[in-house]
């Protein structure tokens, strides 16, 4: 199929066949990263700018490595070093960057909708690397790729997503992504962290970790942001980890070949016990590897090939 998008802003906009095409492309590009010389000339002469208004190690590095393996030039702008602290507006910063003729802008921003705001104003392509509480589409795509590799399919799987759904852009993207690809999604967490209308996204909702993981093919644990304690969402870390932390005893409730995932960074001993995180069912590091492949695929599809 042809991929005609200028931007990649969210899972919500993508059709299942587009998602499949991205995953297939990522699968075929993944092999490049295991070569002795991990570089192809596909995006030679292209410039990819990453703009991060929030701290990130993994996602920013992943985009940078992906761009470099495709021979694109990369430039990284982080908020502390940027004009944002001088009071420049997002639009002005982006227009100034665009004046230097990049081909693609990768943005992470604390405000939901910031990538959409830029995409409507810039000629170059925009990839959403996480916006506020809204979406983190490249994370959802790498999660799909990881599960599809492990299970050979996405259709008909039972996926449990556990934790702070309310504040998680990963959850919003993953719920929609897995449902679009035919999986069944159950979310669990304390009611303070389960926003109303989750059912309208097609997810089942429960307050019980045990119920959510029962018969699950995939268990996705979300990072608990420790500041939630002071915002009246939780009582204590102790209680959270006892009620909603994934421990070895829970795995017996799931399918025999269950896989455990986490978008990182981990709070070991809070939402996931070290035994589970490091255990044989964990695909957490495979997610990171696939992150590079998915981002290579998106760079290629948005600015590579005939479009260049």
């Amino acid at each position: 199929m042809e991929f005609r998008r200028k931007d990649l802003l969210g899972i919500a906009d993508l059709a299942p066949e587009e998602i499949r095409h991205i995953l297939d492309t990522a699968q075929s590009l993944k092999e490049i990263s295991s070569r002795p010389i991990k570089k192809v000339p596909t995006l030679r002469g292209k410039t990819v700018v990453t703009m991060f208004y929030e701290p990130s190690t993994r996602t920013r590095m992943s985009f940078e490595i992906a761009a470099k393996r495709l021979s694109a030039d990369t430039l990284n702008l982080t908020v502390s070093a940027s004009s944002a602290v001088k009071g420049e507006t997002l639009a002005d910063t982006a227009h100034n960057l665009e004046a230097m003729q990049p081909d693609l802008l990768v943005i992470r921003h604390y405000a939901s909708g910031a990538p959409h705001y830029l995409a409507g104003r810039l000629r170059c392509g925009v990839i959403n690397a996480g916006d506020g509480l809204h979406e983190h589409p490249t994370q959802a795509l790498l999660d799909l790729l990881t599960v599809r590799e492990a299970k050979g399919r996405l259709d008909g799987l039972k996926v449990a997503i556990i934790g702070d759904i309310a504040h998680s852009r990963v959850a919003r993207s993953d719920i929609q992504a897995f449902i679009k690809m035919g999986s069944k999604v159950t979310v669990a967490g304390p009611a303070t962290m389960l926003p109303p209308f989750l059912e309208s996204l097609g997810a089942e909702v429960t307050y019980s970790l045990e119920e959510a993981v029962a018969g699950a093919d995939v268990i996705m644990m979300l990072r608990l942001q420790l500041e939630r304690m002071n915002q009246m969402f939780l009582s204590t870390l102790r209680e959270y980890s006892r009620e909603f932390g994934l421990a070895p005893r829970h795995l017996a409730l799931a399918k025999k070949d269950v896989v455990i995932m986490h978008p990182g960074p981990l709070n070991r001993g809070v939402e996931i016990s070290p035994e589970v995180a490091d255990g044989p069912y964990s695909l957490i590091l495979e997610q990171v590897t696939n992150g590079v492949a998915v981002r290579m695929a998106l760079l290629y599809l948005l600015i590579g090939g005939e479009k260049g």
């Binding site: 919500a12 507006t89 997002l90 639009a91 921003h109 405000a111 939901s112 909708g113 910031a114 959409h116 705001y117 916006d131 506020g132 509480l133 809204h134 979406e135 852009r169 919003r172 926003p195 109303p196 209308f197 989750l198 309208s200 996204l201």
Partner: protein, 426 residues
């Protein structure tokens, strides 16, 4: 020179009048209201108004004119110009200026600016507390003497119920109504839109309807306790309408208003992160819109006010969560409200009551009727004129309007204040 308006259908809810009459304006007053053809036109300026309706001048009891302090968004003059362009002969302006209108000197400044503009009548609303800080009562007697017609916490809601109790009692002492901005700031937290399905999908922090309903209930209870007169500003929620209806049925003298965007738009308008649809209180659900319509129909909601809140691209052309709340409405309010008549929710006479008679009564200001001797403030309306909202043509300094491009039916074609034509021509 006296002005004779001939052949219009005169609609005045205060006199329960709805028929073709000729209307003579002289000395700034309504001088005669007679059957067609009975008032001679010689020596008078005659306006042939056949096919039009004439109403008591429309009164928008809730606007923000931004002066003093934010003149780049609006001034009293440009706001008054927008008012008369939209058919309004009078507006009540909220005190959240910079500085806050909590003293007689600011009130006098506003009135001086309005007099210099010479367009719409401007009625200042004073602040409930000093600096709108929510700590100490401001000087109500002094403000009243300077010209305020009501007191309000609009934009800076009073969180302390004891202060609200004292404010109701103290305002009662001087016969001033209290216009309450019902919003629990603790519960709102950092919400930026209605909490519901759309906020979930857009990843925006929510403002549940309970933020408003809790405070509506508080203020109704305090009005009951104190005998003070409370007017609930910008009602949006199903639950608020039910509470006000119940209080009125129990005999409480409460009044309430809503705004056109609350009976035309839902949370869906925010999709695409449209900051022109970012407003406080927020656009809610279809169920709330239905309740607002029903509240207007059955009289629970007494008035329609625009909550005209000008902002420029500096406040609106930014990330959604960073954008200022508010939208402008003076030049669309009548056209949008007429849809209630076209849709059969209200009769035209009922609409005029909500946009003129009732606001005048609630604020205790002149106008709102066409009785002999009343101020010659009136609005001529072409009920059938279709027009398209174009923000580029607004008299307001600001452009933050989510109705740009809408086609509306019905428009004010002439606005007369004190017997002078201040907008429009025939």
């Amino acid at each position: 020179m006296s002005l004779l308006i001939k052949g219009a259908s005169v609609v005045d809810p205060a006199q329960n009048l709805e028929e073709v009459r000729d209307l003579l304006l002289d000395g700034g007053k309504i001088a005669a209201l007679e059957p067609p053809g009975t008032i001679p036109g010689e020596g008078r300026r005659v306006i042939e108004a056949q096919g039009l309706v004439v109403t008591p001048g429309l009164i928008d009891m809730h606007v923000h004119l931004r002066e003093p302090g934010e003149e780049y968004k609006e001034t009293i003059e440009t706001g008054a110009r927008a008012a008369v362009a939209g058919g309004f002969t009078a507006v009540a302006c909220m005190p959240n200026t910079k500085p806050v209108n909590d003293t007689a000197s600011v009130t006098r400044f506003i009135l001086d600016q309005a007099a210099a503009a010479g367009l719409a009548r401007v009625y200042p609303v004073g602040a409930i507390s000093m600096g709108s800080g929510g700590q100490n009562l401001s000087e109500y007697a002094d403000q009243k003497a300077a010209g305020v017609v009501a007191l309000s916490d609009d934009g800076h809601p009073v969180m302390n119920p004891l202060l609200m109790r004292r404010a109701l009692e103290y305002a009662r002492t001087f016969g001033l109504p209290l216009i309450s901005h019902c919003e629990d700031l603790n519960l709102r937290a950092d919400g930026v839109m209605h909490e519901g399905r759309v906020s979930l999908e857009l990843g925006l922090r929510g403002i549940p309807a309970a933020v408003e309903e809790i405070m509506v209930f508080r203020d109704l209870a305090l009005a009951q306790l104190t005998g003070g007169r409370v007017h609930i500003a910008h009602v949006t929620a199903f639950g608020s309408v039910a509470l006000i209806r119940q209080a009125k049925a129990a005999g409480l003298t409460v009044t309430a208003e809503t705004a056109p965007h609350y009976f035309h738009l839902t949370e869906e308008a925010v999709r695409g992160y449209d900051t022109n649809a970012k407003v406080n209180p927020p656009l809610r659900t279809a169920q709330d819109v239905a309740a607002i319509n029903e509240g207007l129909r059955d009289g629970t909601l007494d008035a329609i006010a625009s909550d005209h809140a000008p902002h420029t691209s500096l406040e609106k052309d930014v990330e959604f969560q960073e954008a200022a709340f508010g939208l402008i409405g003076l030049e669309t309010s009548l056209g949008l409200s007429l849809k209630l008549v076209h849709d059969g929710v209200l009769t035209f006479k009922e609409l005029v009551a909500k946009m003129s008679t009732n606001p005048a009564r609630i604020l205790g200001v002149p106008g709102g009727n066409l009785a002999l001797g009343a101020p010659a403030d009136l609005t001529l309306i072409d009920l059938n004129r279709e027009w398209t909202v174009d923000v580029a043509k607004f008299a307001s300094k600001s452009r933050n309007c989510p109705f740009h491009g809408w086609t509306l039916k019905g428009k004010a074609v002439m606005t007369i204040v004190g017997g002078e034509i201040v907008s429009g021509e025939l």
